[in-house]
């Protein structure tokens, strides 16, 4: 099925909004000294990206679970590698 331009546009807007929300959540819960708007969608969260550490994964997983009711299991920790992958995971799993 081919999506109409309107559907595609509204889906993109929803995605953009979710990305913004997750960035704000990230900055708030991990007390990052970064403007959420400055975080790129493809920016790695760990290492050279936002420089999160392994202990931050737990806080991030808790925040996502509380905010969206989405669990990040041990097999799904790849979804914490970048903001886009995290938002993909939230979109795919939230009810």
């Amino acid at each position: 099925m081919v999506a109409t331009l309107e559907e595609t546009t509204s889906r993109a807007a929803a995605r953009q909004q979710l990305c913004g929300e997750v960035k704000a959540l990230l900055v708030d819960r991990l007390a990052l000294e970064v403007d959420p708007a400055m975080i790129g969608d493809d920016q790695p969260l760990f290492g050279r990206g936002l420089e999160l550490d392994s202990i931050d994964t737990l806080e991030l997983a808790m925040a996502i679970e509380e905010q969206y009711g989405v669990l990040i299991t041990d097999d799904e920790t790849d979804s914490l590698l970048s903001l886009n992958r995290l938002v993909d995971h939230v979109e795919a799993n939230r009810s």
Binding site: T57, A61, T77
Partner: protein, 176 residues
């Protein structure tokens, strides 16, 4: 019974008739934890849902050597040790779950599983704890990612909450 947590573990009477809700005695706690004097903190576990939550008691005594130095003439039980009590209670929560998985019993020799205190977040010390206080600790285990486990804990004396904290602790996996 003041517990807000429903114990699923049957309460056992202590020898000598002290019957009030003892789930684990100090000796049983010592089988679950590697900690020993002077860093063995909890006197009794009074409610327990293995893998989920627990409550414990600690009696603070002027005989505790730490109080000789903290502080001379003004004994206050150190706040950091209240945090440690919650961390040790967390080890009881996941230790008893591991013991049950391994053999069905609540208490087993699982002290090798105790890992590290990985994070202390949002610790608040609301009121000083002094000799004569009986501190009630409550801990609940939350989200788990890999070996990292989130724990929320609080300590109270009587009706007063004296400390709240969120921690991350680690559990060491069984050797392959």
């Amino acid at each position: 019974m003041t517990a807000s947590v429903v114990p699923v573990v049957p309460v056992q009477p202590l020898p000598g008739g002290r019957g009030d809700s003892v789930v684990l005695t100090a000796d049983e706690i010592a089988r679950l934890l590697p900690h020993r004097y002077p860093f063995f903190m909890l006197d009794r576990v009074t409610a327990l849902v293995p893998g989920v939550s627990a409550e414990a008691l600690k009696n603070v005594s002027a005989a505790d050597t730490i109080l000789a130095g903290h502080f001379p003439g003004r004994m206050i039980y150190p706040g950091v040790l209240l945090v440690e009590c919650v961390a040790q209670l967390a080890a009881v929560i996941y230790g008893t779950a591991a013991a049950q998985r391994a053999g069905g019993d609540l208490v087993g020799d699982v002290s090798h599983r105790v890992g590290y205190l990985a994070e202390i977040r949002q610790a608040k010390f609301l009121k000083p704890v002094v000799p004569g206080d009986q501190v009630v600790f409550k801990a609940t285990s939350g989200t788990r990612v890999g070996a990292l486990i989130s724990v929320t804990g609080q300590a109270s004396v009587g009706r007063d909450v004296v400390m709240t904290a969120r921690l991350a602790v680690t559990e060491r996996e069984e050797p392959a």
